[in-house]
């Protein structure tokens, strides 16, 4: 048989056991993958074009839909860019509340990543465990904001609701439960010889390649680059929190998973610090608070939430542009808004962490076995709706 006949082109299509929305076109020679090309665009919902037809405050739900498991960080990125454009700043208590929701979202997004990776490796027990522990953070987020995943909590100028009574005690109970639970994960899933055999040394990303290809998030930190936007360009309450940037040197799939688990532990510490140090004060910027009719003041104080002022609906930022970056759970998200003074943006650009990581499919999945494809795919925490926007 000639060389070309050895190679089989395998279409791991949008419907495949490792859950869908993208296609991998793999060239395999027996059991060894020679090359792989990702075929994305199956969830391309044209967020950038639609944002040009919506008002600024209507873009908040639009921006939250692509990265569905990790909405608060992207909401925060968009609102930071918008506030830079408007030239305003949210009051301190609102900044701390934003940080609180961002860290809670980071925890449940990492559990989602661990669960999906477990399913891809064939361990549905990992899926069940991770999705149960995720529900704790989702339930607490529901107490805070009223929704399970798509909170739309942060608006330009502040946040929409304050902490409900009894929240701190429930959160403390939840954090203690998670801290007792994570060693069990280590015993059963991470220190497991099967996991180690499947993930150790698989898909090694070297430090120079990670920098050259522009990789973000835990994938970058697992290759030895200590780059975290929360330390490099801090926003909200991060300058006053004490946390470590988790890095590893090996750069293989197991290192990527371990960086995520380490980040869950750091987030637990951060939430404790936030609840202890949170200052008092208003949750919406003064100018917007003054726009709410006075008859709502008692209702707002009693229910600990604000009534959205009508002026925010037809917000007209001045002409100009602004760029903001945040450390979402999967990596760094960049929001770039160009405004021409009208209530709808002139150009809206969102670069999500997954579109910056998609090059790793071509780069890492080479000269490895076919069974390594789900192992590497899951360790990247790649979320197709976020990449396709």
């Amino acid at each position: 048989m000639s060389e070309e006949e050895h190679i089989l082109e395998l279409l791991i299509g949008p419907q495949h056991p490792a859950s869908g929305h993208m296609r991998l076109v793999a060239k395999v020679d027996g059991d060894v993958v020679v090359s792989l090309r990702p075929d994305i665009g199956y969830v391309h919902r044209t967020v950038e074009k639609l944002a040009e037809t919506k008002n600024y405050i209507q873009i908040i739900p639009l921006v939250e839909r692509p990265p569905l498991a990790d909405t608060a960080n992207h909401n925060l990125g968009y609102v930071l860019a918008l506030e830079r454009l408007l030239g305003i700043e949210a009051p301190p208590r609102a900044q701390w509340l934003r940080t609180l929701l961002a860290e809670m979202t980071r925890i449940h997004s990492h559990f989602y990543g661990i669960g999906i990776h477990g399913i891809m490796l064939g361990s549905s027990t990992a899926f069940m465990w991770a999705f149960w522990d995720r529900e704790i953070m989702i339930e607490l987020a529901q107490r805070l904001t009223g929704a399970r995943l798509t909170y739309s909590y942060m608006i330009p100028g502040g946040v929409r609701r304050d902490l409900p009574p009894g929240f701190e005690d429930e959160m403390e109970k939840a954090l203690r439960y998670l801290e007792r639970r994570i060693p069990d994960y280590h015993k059963i899933f991470f220190d497991n010889p099967v996991t180690k055999a499947r993930l150790e040394g698989v898909g090694v990303l070297r430090k120079e390649d990670a920098i050259r290809l522009g990789i973000v998030g835990p994938n970058l930190r697992a290759s030895g680059v200590p780059y975290d936007v929360r330390k490099v360009d801090p926003y909200c309450a991060y300058p006053e929190l004490d946390f470590n940037v988790i890095t590893r040197e090996e750069g293989d799939s197991l290192a990527r998973v371990m960086v995520r688990v380490g980040e869950i532990k750091e987030s637990i510490n951060m939430i404790r610090q936030i609840l202890k140090k949170m200052p008092d004060g208003p949750i919406l910027e003064e100018r917007y608070l003054k726009m709410i009719p006075p008859k709502w003041k008692d209702w707002m104080a009693q229910h600990r939430r604000i009534k959205l002022p009508a002026a925010l609906i037809s917000l007209r930022p001045p002409k100009g542009e602004a760029v903001a970056r945040v450390e979402a759970a999967r990596g760094e998200a960049v929001y770039y808004i160009v405004s021409d003074g009208s209530p709808k943006p002139y150009r809206f650009r969102v670069v999500s962490p997954s579109i910056r990581n998609v090059v790793l499919f071509e780069h890492l999945i080479r000269n490895c076995r076919v069974a390594d494809i789900p192992a590497i795919y899951g360790s990247l925490d790649y979320f197709p709706p976020e990449a396709d926007r």
């Binding site: 919902r45 639609l50 498991a69």
Partner: protein, 174 residues
């Protein structure tokens, strides 16, 4: 044509008559209710995560909401599944894939459209790249929400079960 031993002849196709008789028998209770009960409690959706509602679909199979008590087990190959859940927005590229997967499923098969995007576009209604599932597939149950809570997905499964057992959802290509 069949010749009897006593010299009489029956004219007609025995195969076709037998098939018609079998179908008539199965359509009568109690076999029909037994068959519908069996189908209703073994609805296996194919792993066809369409868009972002997939996160809540995964949460429905998770321990807190546990859809497997209804017999709802997400399975990997379309040839062994009889339910397809369109979770979220169906883009043009994905619509081609959805039709291919739907054709591969054996009958009786059902389709549930989940989420506001599967109803009429949802928040992306004016996008140039999306398709309404109702136009290309025969949808039985629609679930509103963005994303719908897992309890709503469980309710939709129960609703589909009721429709199957009442005989309103046949799932065959007519």
């Amino acid at each position: 044509m069949v010749c009897g031993m006593s010299g009489s002849m029956w004219i007609g196709d025995l195969e076709r008559t037998a098939r018609k008789a079998a179908r008539w028998l199965v359509e009568r209770t109690p076999i029909r209710s037994l068959r519908d009960w069996g189908i209703a409690f073994s609805l296996w959706p194919v792993h066809f995560t369409t868009a972002c509602c997939g996160a809540e679909f995964a949460a429905t199979s998770a321990p807190r909401f546990d859809a497997e008590r209804f017999g709802f087990l997400p399975f990997t190959g379309p040839r062994q599944c009889n339910l397809m859940v369109i979770e979220g927005t169906l883009t043009r590229k994905m619509a081609d894939a959805a039709i291919w997967v739907y054709e591969q499923m054996p009958e009786p098969k059902f389709v549930i459209a989940m989420g506001a995007c599967a109803l009429d576009g949802g928040i992306f209604w004016n996008s140039y790249n999306i398709v309404r599932p109702k136009d290309i597939l025969p949808v039985e149950v629609f679930i509103p929400g963005c994303p719908p809570r897992p309890e709503a997905v469980a309710r939709a499964v129960i609703e589909l079960q009721k429709r199957i057992r009442r005989g309103e959802a046949i799932g065959l290509k007519v």
